[in-house]
Amino acid sequence: MRLELKGITKRFGSLVANDSVNLVAEPGQIHCLLGENGAGKSTLMNVLYGLYQADAGEILIDGRVVKFSGPGDAMAAGIGMVHQHFMLIPVFTVAENVILGHEPTKALGFLNMDEARKRVREISDRFGFDVDPDAIVGELPVGVQQRVEIIKALIGDAQVLVFDEPTAVLTPQETDELMAIMKQLRDAGKAIVFITHKLREVKEVADKITVIRLGKVVGEAKPTSTQAELASMMVGRAVDLDVNKTPAKPADVKFSVKNLEVFNHLGQKVVDDVSFDIHAGEILVFAGVQGNGQTELTEAILGLHTRVHGSIVLDGHELIGQSVKHRLDWGLGFVPEDRTLDGLVADFSIAENLMLDRSDRKPFAKGLLLQLKYLAEFAAEKVKQFDIRTQGINQRAGALSGGNQQKVVLARELSRELRILVASQPTRGLDVGSIEFVHEQIVATRDQGLPVMIVATELDEATQLGDRIAVMYRGKIVGIVPADTERARLGQMMAGVVA
């Protein structure tokens, strides 16, 4: 089945998200769609999937014009979509999620769950997914959730499959597996549209590449183009893909964690006897497959967990037993993993978000009185310094693109008097331009002589950014190794093989 988008234009108010975009998806081909954050990729796909109605342009299937008034029509026409933000219901089982919308039923509308399980297993087995139909989706690792999304997209026997940034949340292994699956699907004759920011992936699977910028198609690229070429086409300027940093000059140990144990709300031990030191002027990257305790480790450092044993010493000061507030005041800079849930108040303005952790401190408040004038100046300065692309400091933070949201969080954390910076997956979902910026900031922080702790799931990021790499597996540190350790060895460590 051949799918063609012709002259698609979509406006949100005065913003033109798609401007006469043309795109063709051929059967047996993987078509990569590249573009910065906010370029209009998801919007285009949502038009294709019937979620948005285009203001102009048409969709053709095998040369015939079709009209989708809703996703139901698109699915019926053989289009499946794996959404950028999971469209899964966390409290439902895998099977329930997969059949939703086209449920097999017995008499009287009773669900036929056996049939549902059978269908899930069928697809799961065909592509080697290994997914339990009765597992509750919310309890599954994101990688498995991603597979559930794919099963969902495949179940209606879709011929055109859209993957909108499916790898943003995956571990390297999971990404490799997904690439294999996509190739398998292509070989089965399906037309695939694949959106990603990761140029390595593009180069690995793409048969055809289209780049869009500011809602317009800026051109096509060949799979043989270099990553640097692709990047500059996306951003419209030359981008440095490598992290520029001088060798670390580690000084004294500034941050020291000893025998740390953390229990989650279910009483499970999620961080198990973890000890490590970070020197001033050094970046320690925690690598490892997600869900092995890194998140909880950073949260325990911030003080979000109540059941914690062991010791966390920052600059000679024990943090265990202290409130979050106290730790922040002592100079802990924290960039949470999930910026929309934990990093920002979406309904607050950019300015308000910039003082979220210091709203009751000088100079943001005198006594109880907020110093709005100071805040306005401060925010304007930070917006400039961090190149936050916004209509103004009073814009809702929730209206910013992901990259810019991350910049707001970084700006807030880095503008305090810090003794350490702890950042969890600081570049997740960001485009190459934004990644470059975030990395620069992190390295600059190190070079000021601060200890830096980063959690990364991208091996590339870990090796480029880190001075040393700690690998976690099942709550324990498997080993702490130099940053130039081979990828293969790191991969083994991530699977739990002790160094």
Binding site: L302, L304, S323, V324, K325, R327, L328, D329, F334, P336, L341, D342, G343, L344, V345, A346, D347, F348, E352, M355, L356, D357, S359, D360, F364, A365, L368, L369, L370, L372
Partner: protein, 393 residues
Amino acid sequence: MSTEKTSRLKVDWQSIIRGNALIPVLAIVTSLIVGGILVAIANTDVQAAAGNIFSAPGTFFSTLGQTVGGAYDALFRGSIFNYQASDVALMFKPLTETLAFATPITLTGLALAISFRSGLFNIGGTGQIIFGAMFAGWVGIYVHLPFWIHLPLAIVVGVIGGAFFGALVGLLKATTGANEVIVTIMFNYIAGLLLQYLLKTPLLQAPNTANPISPAVQDTAKYPLLFGDTNRLHWGFFVMLAAVVFTWWLMNRSSIGFKFRAIGHNPRAARVAGINLGLTYVAVMAVSGALAGLAGTTQILGTEQHLTIGVSASFGIDAITVALLGRSNPWGVLAAGILFGGLRAGAVTMQAEQAVPVDIVTVVQSMIVLFIAAPPLVRAIYRIRKGAEVEAF
């Protein structure tokens, strides 16, 4: 040149029509029309005339007009301006009645607005008013002090009473995670029953009577009247205005309010930013309860003067609508509070003079809120084209 002028005028008119200024007016007009229909249905004269509508349609319509017109004339004279009164003071008396009713309603509305903006759904206005009134009432009745200490002390104690009862909810939520909707509903019943009990014990019940009523508040603890004995409007009105400004300041200009709003919008991000959720829940509910307690003081130290079972009236529930109608914005709450106060004040005159059942006001009140809350509906009724984007709330 003149064309330019007219076109500018036209533009202005268009913007008024399409804009949002007209919506509340149309909402009120529409509700009054529906209320008018009910008034007509309930009126025996209209019923009689309706029987002869074909033989004497003129009579029917004039009766209809007289009845509905009379009702709303009475509503106007009872709530805003009584042009039939004999002297100027009396003419303005209805307005003061409206403001007297608006005082506790607005205060409770502010209380709830603060909690709503902080993400806590406090339905406990009733119980918190009762606690404020009980505490303030006790001081006002039994403590003997000169005016300039007595009244402030009674107010403060009342505020503390409300704050205490509110904070209890916050504490339960912070420590056990108990849902505040359930807890506040239950606390309303518990507070009511506690008051009922205390009004039968010497602690609150007046000597020499077997009825559940307290002695009168001493003169030294009363909010002074603003316009002499014949008007019920008292200094509590200015306390209320001050509370409006305070609430605006607290929520928009103070660091405490900033934290309140932060947990209201995104408690997780607030926690990561070092804001102590449990403590803030308690603080929100304490401030909210304090304002409702203040409403209790304007009841007992202002208009009521005797503590009875009914001291909280329906203000705890009215205030939910007032808070939401005012979009939880202090000035909006004030406007909504005055609207509700006016309807409550005017209802009595409508009843006394035109035999209009009191419940019609409740109907009109709720329809006004529904219409104001749904501008597209009003636009659809009046076929107004959509102007500026309006946020549904």
